[in-house]
């Protein structure tokens, strides 16, 4: 699965994106955040405040309990500040 990061989530993680093989038991966006957070300090820092970081699956906003099954791309980013 492809993961992409934007804004300060990208900066804290230290890369714009990556390909990952999801381990058993990582079924939802929430699960993925938990698994990523355990991968290192940058990740832990990026996801420290779980209420803040938003997610998108295949370029649509989704809530944290959304299942990952079938999605090709997951994105993590802070609240938007465009317009």
């Amino acid at each position: 699965m492809k993961i992409v990061y934007f804004s300060w989530v990208r900066e804290r993680v230290g890369r714009p994106g990556e390909e990952v093989e999801l381990p058993e038991g990582v079924a939802t966006v929430q699960d993925l955040i938990g698994w990523l957070s355990a991968r290192g300090e940058g990740y832990a820092d990026a996801f420290a405040n779980r209420g803040v970081v938003r997610a998108a699956l295949d370029r649509r906003h989704v809530p944290p309990d959304s299942p990952l099954a079938g999605a090709r791309e997951v994105a993590f980013f802070p609240p938007m500040t465009g317009g």
């Binding site: 300060w8 370029r59 906003h61 994105a75 802070p78 938007m80 500040t81 465009g82 317009g83």
Partner: protein, 151 residues
């Protein structure tokens, strides 16, 4: 109605976009528009860097405009959002709509801006006067509330 939607680095020509909307198919009586500009925040900023999520930015703008078209009686809509480094005074975003009557055009323009602010995947970072990077701009509570009043 086929909206004109674009996510681009270059500036845009407001007059040309408004003129195109004025001759939308149908009997246009109203063209409303909003242009968002880069502020200097009282001289503090050298500019704003706009990062976006290519692909999703376009898709989200399209969804917001489709929602506006389903709520308001629109004859045309144009949304152009820039990315990259913008200096104070530069245009960031154009939202413009055409309708038979003013209510639909003005409300749809406000609706699209409110939803772009909270849904379109763009992030602004400050570049400071005198050099150096400032912080990422934080999302405002006002924007979240502005979206909520349409529920």
């Amino acid at each position: 109605m086929t909206p004109v939607l674009s996510v681009q680095r270059e500036d845009f020509d407001v007059a040309a976009e408004l003129d195109a909307l004025a001759v939308s198919a149908g009997d246009v009586g109203a063209v409303a528009s909003f242009v968002g500009l880069c502020r200097s925040e009282g001289g503090r900023l050298a500019g704003l860097e706009l990062e976006h999520y290519p692909g999703m930015a376009e898709a989200e703008i399209e969804r917001v405009v489709a929602e506006a078209a389903s709520r308001f009686d629109l004859l045309g809509a144009t949304v152009i959002h820039r990315f990259g480094l913008l200096q104070p005074g530069e245009r960031i975003v154009l939202v413009a709509t055409a309708a038979g009557h003013r209510g639909a055009a003005l409300e749809a323009t406000t609706f699209i801006m409110d939803f772009l602010k909270t849904r379109a995947p763009f992030w602004k970072r400050e570049h400071l006067q005198g050099g150096g990077l400032g912080p990422w701009v934080e999302a405002s509570t006002t924007d979240a509330l502005a979206e909520r009043r349409w529920e």
